[in-house]
Subunit: 235 residues, 2 copies
């Protein structure tokens, strides 16, 4: 609100470097996570983070190569909270399922971080690698050979990302409720407009597809897949 100083008068002490906190990669990530928590993933832009730090977007590039690297750091921060159990061959199926649940829970703790996980092909951050290794250990403890473990681990982490992404979109405001109910209506209208028996199953599927069936859907998928793995091992 104060008027800018007259242009001919050199500003007296504009830089009080020590006064405002020095930038650092850590501080940038911390700030980005705060914005993520408060305003969602789409609000996390280089500009918005810089604004929060009271600087211009160009300043961030001294500590972060680009947006992609920032995204990767955010994902890694989210994954840092996932525990690493000791493999127990007796309980391997339960351990595998539990690990996937943990990974999904960690991603859903930061609304929208799953979207980032998809944009980051083969993340190589410490915590991502750690999760990959843990998963392989649990699977191998169950008796899968290396190749089987790698394939199964890939499928599980792919599904975990996919599930977390869809669930995030559902539970946080990414798509607004008004639009969604409109969709539901369109869908019902379209299906009923065709020959009555064209969509006998799909017409009754809606009731199993609400937010509160999210958890059972995950459990079903995990149960089926892990049971399939167990059958391979026994054979």
């Amino acid at each position: 609100m104060t008027a800018p100083p007259p242009p001919w008068r050199r500003t007296p002490s504009p830089r009080r470097r020590a006064a405002k906190q020095m930038l650092s990669q850590e501080l940038i990530v911390k700030t980005a996570l705060e914005i993520l928590a408060a305003e969602g993933i789409d609000a996390v832009s280089m500009r918005r983070v810089a604004q929060q730090l009271e600087t211009g977007p160009a300043s961030l590039y001294a500590y972060v190569a680009n947006k992609e690297e920032l995204d990767e750091l955010l994902l890694d921060a989210a994954l840092s909270e996932v525990p690493c159990p000791e493999p127990d061959p007796q309980r391997w199926t339960e351990q595998v399922k539990e690990q996937v649940r943990h990974q999904i829970r960690a991603m859903m703790a930061y609304p929208g971080i799953a979207k980032v996980a998809w944009q980051t092909p083969i993340p190589v951050t410490p915590n991502s690698l750690r999760q990959g290794e843990i998963m392989l250990q649990l699977l191998r403890a169950g008796g899968l050979d290396l190749k089987q473990a790698v394939f199964a681990g890939d499928a599980l982490s792919t599904y975990a990302k996919a599930f977390a992404y869809e669930a995030s979109g559902w539970t946080f405001g990414d798509y607004d409720p008004e639009k969604m109910s409109e969709r539901g209506q369109q869908m019902a209208e379209y299906m009923q407009s065709l020959p009555a028996s064209a969509f006998p199953n799909l017409l009754r599927a809606g009731e199993f597809f609400t937010e509160e069936t999210s958890q059972p859907r995950l459990e079903f998928a995990l149960e089926a897949f892990v049971a399939g793995l167990a059958a391979m091992v026994r054979k």
Copy 2:
């Protein structure tokens, strides 16, 4: 190269509507698909499509509500090629797997369309619905009850989208090879920099994770999941 007409002279016959093909939703989708095939999904912007049609971006909004709707139409076009088999209870496991393979193949025929599938929550286009219903029919023919079929169908289509997305990124130029090999090196370096035994499995996993293992990875995941389903039915 011709000079513009003097401003006081009203342009004689600027609109030869019939000369350039009239716009229509169909033409817009067709043009977008051509650009998609030639330049990849990221090139498909409202501006680029309009440019190809020799008009401004605003003109498209008469036939398409927004970019999201255009995306949905593109996805629907891609799915139109997926066949719809008659359910055969004797061969249901094979039919389910084959249907997923077909869906994935259809998406990969249009590089990057899988990305669109992710951005479109619960697509309600005719072909998407048709695929949903088919999947439910195949699963129910296998003996699953409606709830089981809905959950299984959800998991399968989620995985199909996820797989097609990852495979698309891999096989088309989305991430450039130089960057990727740099990644691989970083990864190997990091893993070896830690206590020797920190990543015993992951260090040997690389060889199972090339482009040519893409197909076997899919088959493994399908096999495990469908086997798990079959076990549920038998029980």
